[in-house]
Structure formats: C-alpha cells, structure tokens
C-alpha cells in the first residue's frame, strides 16, 4: 500500500492539506499527491510540493458525485492515506468513499500523524468537552477542517507528475440546481482578526448596539452564541460561533454576556486572546478566558468602548 493523497473541491484547502501531507510523506516515506477537479491548479500544486496531481474529469459538475471516482482511484492505487478538506461537501464525499472502500474515516481531525502502521488523529468530542485520540488502520481517510494548516508555499522549479482520469460520475435520478451563494450581511467573521461575541446576557436586541460600538472602537466583527442567532433571531445564523457554526481565529475575542458553554467555546478556542465580561463569576467563560471582568455588561461595555477609543 502506498501513497498519501489529498482531495478537496477547494484548491486553497488542498494546498493547506498539502502541508499535512508533506509531514506524512516525511514520516511514512511515501509520495504525496493531490486529487483535484480543477485542471487549472495542477502547476500550482506541483510548485507547492505535490509529487503527483490527478485531475478527475467527469460529466457531472456536482463535486459530491466524484465520491465513486475518488474511491476507485484510492482502491486501484492502493493508497495508504486520503486527507480530505473538511468542507461540508468534502465530508459528504469522504464518508461515501470510505463506505465504498470499507475503510475507516475520522472527521475534523485537529492533528494527523503516522504511528505504528496506523494514522493517529486527535479530534473533539461531546460538543468540545473532550479530546479523543484514535488510530485508523490503513487505508485511512481523514477530513481536516479548513485553515487547520497553512498553505504549503510554492517553490519554483519543482517537478511532478500530472495526469487526468476520465470518470463517469452521473447519478441517475438526481438533479442539482439553483446553486445560490449565501449573501453575507457583513464580513466573514471566520477570517476576522478581531471579534466581539454577544450572548444571552443582553436583554433585548436593541442593546446589541453597545456591542456594535465596542466592535467599531476596536475594528472587530460581531459574532454570537447559538441562542442569539437561532432562537432569538437577533443576528443571522452566519454570525453564530460554535460547534455547528463558525470557528473564529482572531487576535482578540471579547465575549460579552456569554456564559461559555463548551459548544460555543469550541468555536473560539483558537483565538490568541480571549476576554470575558459577565455578571456571574462562576460562569465557565472565565475559565476559558485570559482576561475577565466580573460585572454588568451594560456598565462595562460602554466604559470599555470609551477607554479603547481614547487610546
């Protein structure tokens, strides 16, 4: 069995996974390749360090329809590891391919390593409460969340093998239509460098203006807990930060009126600095924060916005 392969319908993510792939190449002594649907990117992949690029070409443009083709390729090449970009499309495809190959699959791996002829991964469980380490026998499939790794840098003059495989990926009886981009009502908070999070500590929607003012003062985007988006509908769901929402990775995350349940903390754990403001000293948010003020956000937020604006 040989070969470490990477698949994502998103080329940027594929390049991120290449970083992980190159680590595995070093520890497993096997070449690393990228399976792609995008023939334009093949040179870029080689430059970033891929030994091989396989371009899949089918008549059905729906990315998920390539599950069979990917599984076939993995099976024929006797691939050891397939890393899949953990977008929702990627997770869908990975699970289907794993089923076809009767192989193991770990979702949302935070780390991927080779040890004892297995792939060892770590991932979160119980809504972010626990970290599970597990071993997958080979062939192993792993989905990795976008931005877990940074893009492998391009180096001029690298050589590699590029080939195209024609596939029949029609799915009779199924049509995909009406593909509409989701219009964000603001910037993408998942890439924001500063974020202010709002929670149930706010009594009414109008009071969120205080958080907006603070956000403006520090140049931050606004995010929120699940309840604020899904239950109260004070903010659109793309602002919801948590296990089944956005993950943010800002320099600073200020949580205002948020109790700090695990499901929310999971979404902000990669923040460089976490600040919490809440009335309840025993709220779990303070255990998750670098700095905290125990107090009424109605009093503290305006003071904070003012103090920052003055600087």
């Amino acid at each position: 069995m040989s070969g470490i392969w990477i698949y994502s319908e998103d080329s940027m993510i594929a390049k991120q996974l290449l970083t992980a792939g190159l680590e595995l190449k070093a520890s497993m002594g096997q070449p690393v390749g990228i399976i792609t649907l995008d023939s334009q990117e093949q040179e870029g992949f080689i430059a970033a360090g891929a030994d091989k690029v396989c371009v899949l070409k089918g008549q059905n443009p729906w990315p998920e329809s390539y599950a069979g083709a990917v599984a076939d390729f993995i099976g024929k090449e006797q691939v050891s590891v397939l890393l899949v970009g953990g977008t929702l499309r990627g997770k869908d495809l990975a699970a289907k391919a794993a089923a076809m190959l009767q192989a193991g699959l770990v979702t949302d791996a935070l780390t991927v390593q080779y040890a004892n002829n297995c792939i060892e991964t770590t991932r979160l469980m119980y809504g972010g409460l626990a970290l599970r380490t597990e071993a997958i026998s080979l062939p192993a499939l792993v989905t990795v969340p976008p931005r877990t790794y940074s893009e492998a840098p391009a180096v001029d003059g690298r050589q590699g093998e590029v080939f195209t495989v024609e596939v029949d990926n029609g799915i009779p009886g199924m049509t995909v239509s009406n593909v509409c981009p989701i219009i964000r009502e603001g910037a993408d908070i998942s890439t924001a460098s500063r974020v202010v999070g709002v929670g149930r500590g706010f009594s009414k929607k109008e009071d969120l203006a205080m958080a907006e003012k603070l956000a403006q003062a520090i140049g931050a985007e606004i995010g929120c807990t699940r309840g604020v988006a899904e239950d109260s509908h004070w903010l659109p769901s793309e602002r919801y930060i948590g296990i089944s929402g956005q993950k943010v990775k800002p320099e600073i995350y200020i949580a205002a009126g948020i109790s700090g349940q695990v499901q929310h903390i999971v979404g902000v754990r990669d923040s460089k600095i976490i600040v919490a403001i809440d009335t309840n000293e025993k709220a779990p948010i303070f255990a998750a924060a670098d700095y905290g003020i125990v107090g009424d956000l109605y009093e503290v937020l305006p003071l904070l916005a003012e103090a920052i604006a003055k600087k």
Binding site: R89, K96, V106, Y126, N178, P181, A288, I308
Partner: protein, 259 residues
C-alpha cells in the same frame, strides 16, 4: 403516502459529564442519556412530512444496553413504531460499524421511500453515518439539508453548504441528513407521551442480521479520551469600580499587543 425511517442515537448528555481535575479523565457516572439533539430534528422532519402526506414513520436505533430507555421517548415524538438493537458491540463501534448494522436492519424490512438522520450525533459528531448508510444501501445521500419536501416519488431537498445553498431532487429513495435549522422539534404533548406505551417496539439481535465479523470490527480504535481544557491566563479584574477594571484590562491588552 411515504414510508419513512428515522435513525436516532441514544447518547450521554454532555452537560452531565464532568472532567476529573487530576488526569483529565471523563466522569460520566452522573450522566443521563438523551436522544441526540440533531436526531430530534430528523424525527420532527419525518413527522411533519407524514402530517402533510400521510404515510408512516418508523424509528431505528443501535445502541448499548441502555437503549431500551429511549423507546417511549422516541415513540412520543411521532414515529409509529421503533426497532432497536442494544448490543455490547456498540461500545467499540465507529461509523463504519454503525452504518453496517443499520443497513443490515433496514434490509430486513420492506424498502423505505426516505431515510432521515441527523447531520451528526451530539456525542461524536462524525457526520458519517447517513452518507455511509446510503452508499451501503446503494441509494443516493443528500446531506446538510435545511428544507425538505416530497412531491409524489420525488424528494426535493435544499442543502446549506457554508458558502452556498443548492436544491437537490431525487427520484426514488434516498438517505437525507438534516441540519438543526430545518425545524424546531416539538415538545411531545402529554397525550403523545401516554400514547407511546401503546405503540409497538421490536428488538433486533445482531446475530440475526447476517453481519460478518469484519462488518462489526471498527476501523478506528479509541486510544484515549481526555477532557479538553484550554490553558488560558484566567486573570480576573474584580475591583468594585468598573472603570478601574476597564483600565486594567485595556493596559493588559496593550501589553499583549492587541489593542
């Protein structure tokens, strides 16, 4: 008149799980079980379809020996009957095994028009069982669905995928996994709770399901589960005057270089 199956998982309520301070191991001794939250959305979706189109909803679950406690709970939420497999094999099972077991149980029944699952389970959230199940059964999977309807033998699903939505139509049977935003699961009325006792439940034994040893052997092996604790500074400003607290905070942030 669609014949619908909902698969659900009986999981530990993560709110009851404690982390032992010394070795960060998990203390589940006080944890109660619940129907996995996203599966409630699946059950609700199925129930709503059947209210609109008539037909039936069956429930199916694979769990450990505690899974018997879930039966009346699930029956009070809409399904007309529940099949359950409670087996020690569950403790080591990964999505590969679970999908094999569910598929084997499903093959024992007449075919379903629609199989609905939650997008992932509340405990491990692997988001794999629905697409795996579909692949084993040889039918399409439509995942991450936020809107679902039926038109005769056509299934129409709107998927929500991070940066876009798309509409997928399938002619014939399919496995659907639903997002929590698809609906708000109803709170069972008290008559529904009482009526649950009168609905049938059927135990299935793994031995009767024609599964090979390989099918029941997990591909992923658990090495350890530890409480996930972040190491943060935990510096609290507790002066009586909030202006003082704010000043100290701003000074600290300036030192950190973030403000």
């Amino acid at each position: 008149m669609p014949k619908i199956l909902v698969c659900y998982k009986w999981v530990l309520d993560e709110q009851d799980i404690k982390i032992n301070p010394g070795d960060l191991s998990l203390d589940t001794s006080r944890a109660k079980y619940k129907i996995s939250d996203y599966d409630k959305n699946a059950i609700e979706a199925a129930t709503q379809l059947v209210e609109a189109h008539e037909g039936s909803v069956d429930a199916l679950t694979f769990g450990n020996d505690k899974v018997k406690q879930s039966l009346k709970d699930v029956l009070s939420r809409g399904p007309g009957k529940v099949q359950w497999i409670g087996d020690p094999a569950f403790e080591q099972a990964d999505a590969f095994v679970t999908a094999n077991v569910l598929a084997a149980a499903i093959r024992n029944n007449e075919s379903y028009d629609l199989i609905i699952c939650g997008e992932g389970s509340a405990d491990s959230y692997s988001q794999q069982v629905a697409p795996r199940l579909a692949t084993i059964l040889g039918i399409p999977a439509v995942t991450f669905v936020q809107e679902l309807s039926i038109d005769g033998s056509r299934i129409i699903a709107t998927r929500k995928l991070g940066d876009c939505t798309e509409v997928v139509e399938v002619q014939g049977s399919a496995v659907i996994s639903v997002l929590p935003e698809i609906n708000k699961p109803r709170i069972p009325s008290l008559k529904q709770v009482m009526a649950a006792s009168k609905k049938p439940s059927q135990e299935l034994k793994i031995a009767d399901l024609q599964l090979s040893t390989e099918d029941l052997q997990a591909k992923t092996v658990n090495l350890s589960v530890k409480g996930y604790v972040m190491n943060r500074k935990n510096i609290l400003f507790k002066e009586t005057n909030q202006a003082d607290n704010v000043a100290k905070l701003v000074a600290s942030l300036a030192q950190e270089g973030v403000c």
